[in-house]
């Protein structure tokens, strides 16, 4: 295990400070895409407090970043439940308004609508894989589910997106051909 993590686990606050500075941005973005920027700060804070308390139990089987996102995932879920809000709502992580880059396959508003039609579990894996760039195994570690579940959810999420975007898809694929 990383010497920095070991030092932080033993109570070295400077070492833990380095971990915070290294991972805060990714944890905050992760939280903001799930529960919005207002609550993301609290969720990120809580994530690092929990991490500091539990770092001795970190066994290094996954990357530290994945472990931190797993903690953040739990805090976000709790905060969303507490505030009676939908987790991973598409307006939280897709730019608002119509239009956008013409080189892209689909219009932004159409994409937002298609994503809104997905279940929260499907949106979750889409964010983790497509936006956060996590592999299937890492996403599975964050969500606490088997890797096959992530693969299955992602497959179904894209099938549903394809169905929703079918109207836009046909002419543009023809154009692409």
């Amino acid at each position: 295990m990383d010497a920095l993590i070991q030092s932080a686990a033993k109570g070295d606050r400077n070492a833990f400070g380095k971990i915070v500075s290294e991972h805060y941005a990714s944890v905050y973005r992760f939280c903001a895409r799930r529960i919005g920027p207002e609550l993301a700060q609290d969720a990120a804070q809580e994530t690092f407090i929990t991490a500091q308390r539990s770092l001795r139990r970190f066994n290094g089987r996954s990357a530290l970043s994945t472990w931190l996102l797993g903690i953040a995932h739990n805090h976000c879920r709790n905060l969303a439940r507490k505030n009676r809000m939908e987790i991973c709502a598409s307006e939280l992580w897709i730019e608002q308004g119509a239009g956008g880059d013409e080189t892209q396959l689909v219009d932004r508003e159409a994409l937002r609508r298609a994503l809104s039609a997905l279940s929260p579990e499907h949106r979750e894996v889409v964010i983790l894989h497509e936006i956060e760039g996590l592999t299937y195994d890492e996403a599975a570690a964050v969500l606490g589910v088997p890797s096959g579940t992530v693969k299955s959810r992602l497959h179904h999420a894209f099938l549903n997106l394809r169905k929703s975007l079918c109207q836009d898809f046909e002419p543009k694929t023809e154009t692409a051909k």
Binding site: Y24, Q52, R53, L111, V126, T135, K151, F158, F169
Partner: protein, 397 residues
């Protein structure tokens, strides 16, 4: 397995090499499948392109929170010791405040202070207080008796005592001012080998100190028993008791005293007032000219005189009771000597000892469990609080 199910994983490069090869071959053979794979790639790219930019805030706060020294570090070793001592002192103070025996002690000390005050006021009412007897330091109030004038001391003996040990069980002598009106009573139980002879000698003792036998009874059965009620002058009470103790072995002794000074003074004051009233009626009667007035005054005068007589007899009875102390004396023959227990075999002794030990240990454990259970409402929340606090902040400390 259907190739379409693995198409997204293939696009993401998440398939094992063998399966990826199968999917690749399928893609080459099927243009629709290829178009679908292209769509997945393009859709992923669109999602990433349309993802909102997130402005990161709060990093400083998180950093400050993470690097802030813990409570133990902030306190330091001296601070920790001081905090521990403070906590211990606070617990002790809490224990003293919650100590149930404390309130009892306070009540007892308050009673004693009241007794002392009453004694001092009694002494102050006397112009030249002279104490008839000295009070030993061991003198104590018997619990459950109220009133400043009620004092009692009892000592019990299950077994007969040697004459040499009698001094230890002699009732404590009471501080009594000379002009105080105290009714003193004593009870004595003696074991005498010859009960009738001791009965006669007790009668002689009462006569010799200027007293008399108020009542006496003697039973003759397997064990002779006699009871006497003696009246002796209060000044001779101690002497009489001393001489009665010599008649046998003391198995029980108690003495009691009741201060009726206030009661006596109260009767005296009422008598004074009633006599003045009587004098007034007599004067009114002599100056009365109408028959009806005379009859009314005579009737009232009769009532007043009746009350005066009643109070005078009460006052006289109090004086008599205070002048002559009562001794309840019981004489019995000593119980027959118990045969010595036959010594048990060593194994029986060991067995009994072991059984007694197990029983005692069981009782101790049960007692401890009862205490733990009864104090549950106090220690359980504290324990749960500590456990929760340690779970929450332990690593941060």
């Amino acid at each position: 397995m259907n190739v379409r199910d693995d198409l997204k994983a293939y696009v993401d490069g998440e398939l094992p090499q063998a399966r990826a090869e199968q999917v690749r071959q399928a893609l080459e053979a099927d243009p629709d499948l290829r178009a679908e794979a292209d769509f997945y790639r393009a859709l992923g790219s669109s999602i990433r392109a349309h993802a909102a930019e997130v402005q990161v805030v709060g990093a400083d706060r998180a950093m400050e929170r993470a690097t802030r020294p813990g409570l133990l570090s902030r306190l330091g070793r001296r601070g920790l010791v001081a905090s521990g001592l403070t906590a211990v002192l606070a617990l002790i103070a809490l224990g003293v405040v919650l100590d149930p025996s404390r309130s009892h002690q306070e009540a007892v000390s308050m009673d004693r202070a009241m007794d002392k005050e009453a004694e001092q006021s009694a002494v102050a009412s006397s112009p030249a207080p002279a104490y008839s007897e000295q009070a030993p330091a061991s003198s104590e109030r018997a619990p459950g008796r109220g009133g400043a004038g009620s004092m009692q001391e009892e000592r019990f003996r299950a077994k007969s005592l040697d004459a040499g040990a009698r001094d230890e069980m002699e009732p404590s002598r009471l501080i009594v001012p000379d002009d105080a009106m105290i009714i003193r009573t004593a009870a004595l139980r003696l074991e005498a080998p010859d009960v009738p002879a001791a009965h006669r000698r007790a009668t002689q003792v009462a006569s010799s100190v200027g007293g008399y036998v108020e009542a006496s009874q003697i039973y003759q059965s397997a064990r002779a028993e006699s009871s006497l009620t003696l009246r002796v002058p209060v000044r001779k009470l101690e002497e009489a008791l001393e001489r009665l103790r010599e008649l046998g072995r003391v198995s029980f002794e108690t003495s009691d005293s009741e201060d009726v000074t206030g009661q006596h003074a109260d009767i005296g004051a009422r008598l004074k007032a009633l006599r003045a009233e009587e004098q007034g009626y007599v004067e009114m009667l002599s100056s009365s000219r109408r028959v009806s007035d005379s009859l009314e005054i005579r009737s009232r005068l009769g009532n007043v005189r009746q009350t005066i007589e009643s109070l005078e007899s009460q006052q006289a009875a109090l004086k008599d009771r205070a002048a002559m102390s009562k001794i309840e004396l019981t004489l019995t023959t000593p119980p027959p000597a118990q045969p010595k227990p036959v010594s048990q075999a060593w194994n029986e002794e060991a067995w009994n000892s072991a059984v007694a030990g197990v029983s005692s240990a069981g009782r101790s454990i049960a007692r401890a469990l009862i205490f733990v259970f009864v104090y549950l409402p106090i220690w359980a929340p504290v324990f749960v609080g500590f456990a929760w606090a340690w779970r929450r902040w332990g690593p941060l400390l």
